[in-house]
């Protein structure tokens, strides 16, 4: 540490030759480890199924391990629900719907949901720690984003429960019945909140299955629901893998399927419920275009790109994974991006300074590596951060590809990792056409200082969420969901009520 070294008198010239002009981020002054304490979190060695307000053993007596992707250590084991367990959960939900929840005055329903929101806030620290341990996301994100946003989501929808007659002009609405909900591993608690809160507010009961790699916060949520005295069976949380999900989808007494996950599984679900009257909401994949025009606030745009693709290790369905930069500023933007990426801290998710945590699973890390190979083979130029990676656990350096063509697979397929594909464009019409040239349509980003251009672009993007001069912003009051193969139905806001009601 050179703080006390004597400085020479200012040099006559501090001008460097242009080929040596480079910022150095490997500095003498560095941050010591700042790990969040695990002591706030209680993780039981084994979790059963939360059915009808009680913890029930799986009828197949099988359990599977959930591990910490940053250390590859086993955290706990959770029950593997089979079709019989699913049946128990669905019938508990049906009974609760018929006997209790559909008959309860709406304002009382609201108070239960408010209560859940408050308890999530009370246990925020514990939930954040478990979310990070189980899923690998940085504690900064689970603490500052996932958990508070989940609590807010419950709070927002709680208030709707006794106001539904104002939400649908000139119409009466009725709940659908039992909602089967299947959620992904990228935002485990938040997705549980996105699913459960509107379903309960509109008077439905729930069977929810978290992803098999990240079941713990949903099970913690089950404990909260139990503590909140929610009537038994109104929310049932069962764990398992794809087979458990399939059993929920195909159960004849489920009225509604809400699924967040891959487009492939979404299509399977739509097929498997084809012969039924089940309603569905699907929130699926994406390959969002993030467009930077030459007049954009470039430094904020660069930050938006960083948040767009490296937030949550890129495990975000609306990630801005296709960057379109106007050619006149492409060099500048790429240099700024590389500088910024060099300052991203990759490592222990529990460290408060970590920006990019662990890839959620070994399988996902392999998928990402496969795409890195594909990108190189396709002739794109790969660049990655010079940061060191921990020896254990599943980690991936933040990576970008330049010289990417629209036809490259890394520009078309969802990678779901910290990998950015950069393409250039010249005119507005060109970039609009390229941005929309995708089967997906979840989100898009536009960066320009010109108001009229913003509205042209935001109107013409075929995507459910368009961020202009910002990216990856979420709010309980803001509807979220896709166009085209990114799914249908909205979650969040007034529009998020609609998928859970029958409009009469």
């Amino acid at each position: 540490m050179a703080v006390t070294r004597k400085k020479a008198a200012p040099k006559k010239s501090s001008t460097k030759k242009s080929n040596t002009v480079k910022l150095k981020f490997d500095t003498g002054w560095s941050y010591d480890p700042a790990p969040e304490s695990r002591s706030a979190a209680t993780i039981k060695p084994q979790y059963d199924l939360f059915i009808n307000g009680q913890w029930q053993k799986p009828s197949g007596k099988k359990y599977f391990a959930t591990t910490n992707p940053a250390t590859e250590e086993k955290l706990s084991e959770v029950a593997d629900a089979n079709a019989a367990d699913v049946n128990k959960a669905v019938s508990a939900a049906r009974t609760a719907y018929d006997k209790v929840w559909s008959k309860m005055p709406a304002r009382e329903r609201a108070k239960y949901i408010f209560r859940i929101s408050r308890m999530v806030q009370e246990k925020a620290r514990e939930l954040a720690v478990i979310e990070t341990l189980d899923g690998g996301k940085p504690i900064r994100e689970s603490r500052d984003f996932d958990v508070p946003t989940a609590a807010n989501h419950f709070f927002y929808y709680a208030g709707w429960a006794d106001k539904l007659e104002y939400a649908f002009p000139n119409r009466q609405v009725a709940p659908l019945g039992v909602a089967g909900q299947i959620i992904p591993w990228n935002f485990p608690l938040l997705m549980a909140a996105w699913k459960i809160a509107p379903a309960l507010a509109t008077g439905n009961t729930v069977v929810l299955k978290p992803a098999e790699t990240t079941p713990l916060t949903a099970l913690k949520l089950a404990e909260i629901i139990q503590e909140a005295d929610l009537p038994p069976g109104v929310v049932n949380i069962i764990t398992g893998a794809g087979a458990t999900g399939a059993a929920i989808v195909s159960h004849p007494d489920v009225n509604k399927i809400a699924f967040t996950g891959s487009t492939d599984v979404g299509k399977l679900i739509q097929r498997s419920i084809a012969g039924t009257n089940k309603k569905a909401t699907l929130e699926l994949g994406g390959k969002a275009a993030n467009i930077i025009f030459e007049d954009a606030p470039l430094d904020q745009a660069v930050e938006g790109v960083i948040n767009g693709i490296y937030f949550n290790q890129g495990h975000v369905c609306c990630a801005g994974s296709r960057l379109y930069v106007q050619e006149s500023v492409a060099k500048t933007v790429i240099r700024k991006l590389k500088d910024r990426i060099e300052t991203l801290i990759v490592g222990d998710p529990m460290d408060k300074n970590t920006d990019i945590g662990a890839i959620n699973s070994k399988q996902q890390l392999e998928t990402i590596h496969r795409y890195l190979d594909i990108g190189r083979r396709e002739g794109a130029e790969m660049w990655e951060s010079s940061c060191p990676l921990p020896r254990k656990g599943y980690f991936c350096r933040p990576t970008l590809f330049t010289n990417v063509a629209q036809s490259n697979r890394i520009a078309q397929e969802e990678i779901f990792g910290p990998v950015l594909s950069i393409l250039t464009f010249r005119t507005d019409d060109e970039v609009i056409e390229k941005a929309n040239n995708s089967p997906f349509g979840l989100s898009a980003g536009v960066w320009t200082d010109k108001g009229s251009k913003i509205f042209n672009l935001t109107r013409r993007m075929r995507a459910g969420v368009v961020w202009a001069n910002t990216f990856n912003k979420f709010d309980p009051s803001s509807p979220f969901g896709g166009y085209k193969e990114s799914g249908f139905g909205r979650e969040g806001g007034l529009h998020g009520l609609m998928p859970y009601v029958d409009i009469k």
Partner: protein
């Protein structure tokens, strides 16, 4: 900025990059989430001490006050061995001679405000004489203010020429150009003023006089650091940064240091290229350093107020 293909070609300052307020404030807030503990905290605090321009700029400044301040600059807290000194003492031109003498041999620089500080509302020849006087009295560094009125009136050439003229009058003294960001109104204008100052010859750009609120903020400093970075990439020339006014707590100063590290990196992490313009910051940093050494929270009563 198409014209700025080389240092000799001036950019069109009306085309300085645009700044999105919400985005820049969000980015600035992100730096504050860095957790600085243990050794890195102690090293950071020492670095901060070493970057302070200990400042007195009052109408009631006297030789006695300035001498006491200079003593403080050299002996921050002798109870803790191995502490660095501050970087400079910053005073009015009339006090430069006193400070120069008091700091003899310490290696601490004498900085003088100039150019009809703080308003800058004086004819150019007076500003030039003000500057030459301070330099002749022994100032190592000149902190000038830009003509904000002319800037707002769109007379960028006037502002540019004035800075260039003062720079010439500085001779070997390093020139810090105060934008008085609290009077500029938007980040777009802060960026534009930063570009004008750097292209006109500033060695440092500085946020504020300390006489106008708000003074230094993290977002405004971030905008200026990014201007410095872009200028460096265009010209290869390093420019220093000095946030001044409103930074009185160690924790906030550490956030600035994080920002500096993550925007400009290693080369700027020295008092040659970064300063805090502050008066009460030093004592708070000292208290934190002593707390780190002793493990006990400190009282201001044990630290000299000069």
């Amino acid at each position: 900025m198409a014209a700025a293909s080389s240092q000799t070609m001036l950019p069109d300052f009306s085309l300085s990059p645009r700044i999105d307020q919400v985005g820049v404030e969000e980015r600035a807030a992100r730096f504050t989430t860095r957790s600085i503990k243990k050794e890195s905290k102690l090293n950071g605090l020492k670095l901060i001490l070493n970057m302070i321009d200990l400042t007195t700029l009052e109408g009631k400044d006297t030789d006695g006050k300035v001498k006491q301040l200079c003593y403080k600059a050299m002996h921050l807290h002798d109870a803790v061995p191995g502490l660095p000194t501050v970087a400079a003492v910053c005073v009015y031109p009339s006090m430069v001679k006193v400070a120069r003498k008091a700091l003899e041999g310490s290696g601490i620089k004498v900085a003088s405000v100039s150019t009809a500080f703080p308003s800058g509302q004086a004819p150019r020849d007076i500003k030039l004489r003000d500057t030459r006087f301070a330099v002749s009295e022994g100032a190592d560094e000149i902190d000038m203010v830009i003509s904000r009125g002319r800037f707002h009136a769109g007379e960028y050439n006037f502002v540019f020429d004035e800075i260039a003229a003062i720079k010439e009058a500085c001779g070997d003294a390093r020139l810090k150009v105060i934008l008085e960001t609290g009077e500029l109104g938007t980040y777009d204008k802060v960026r534009r003023a930063s570009d004008i100052a750097m292209y006109a010859g500033a060695d440092f750009i500085k946020t504020s006089t300390g006489k106008i609120q708000p003074a230094a903020t993290m977002p405004v400093t971030l905008v200026m650091l990014e201007a410095i970075r872009d200028f460096y990439y265009k010209t290869g020339k390093m420019i220093g940064m000095k946030p001044a006014g409103g930074i009185s707590k160690s924790k906030l100063a550490l956030h600035y240091l994080v920002m500096l590290k993550e925007v400009l990196g290693e080369d700027w992490l020295t008092n040659e290229w970064f300063r805090f313009g502050a008066s009460s910051l030093a004592n708070d940093v000292l208290m934190q350093i002593v707390k780190e050494h002793t493990g006990v929270y400190q009282s201001a009563n044990y630290f000299s107020v000069d």
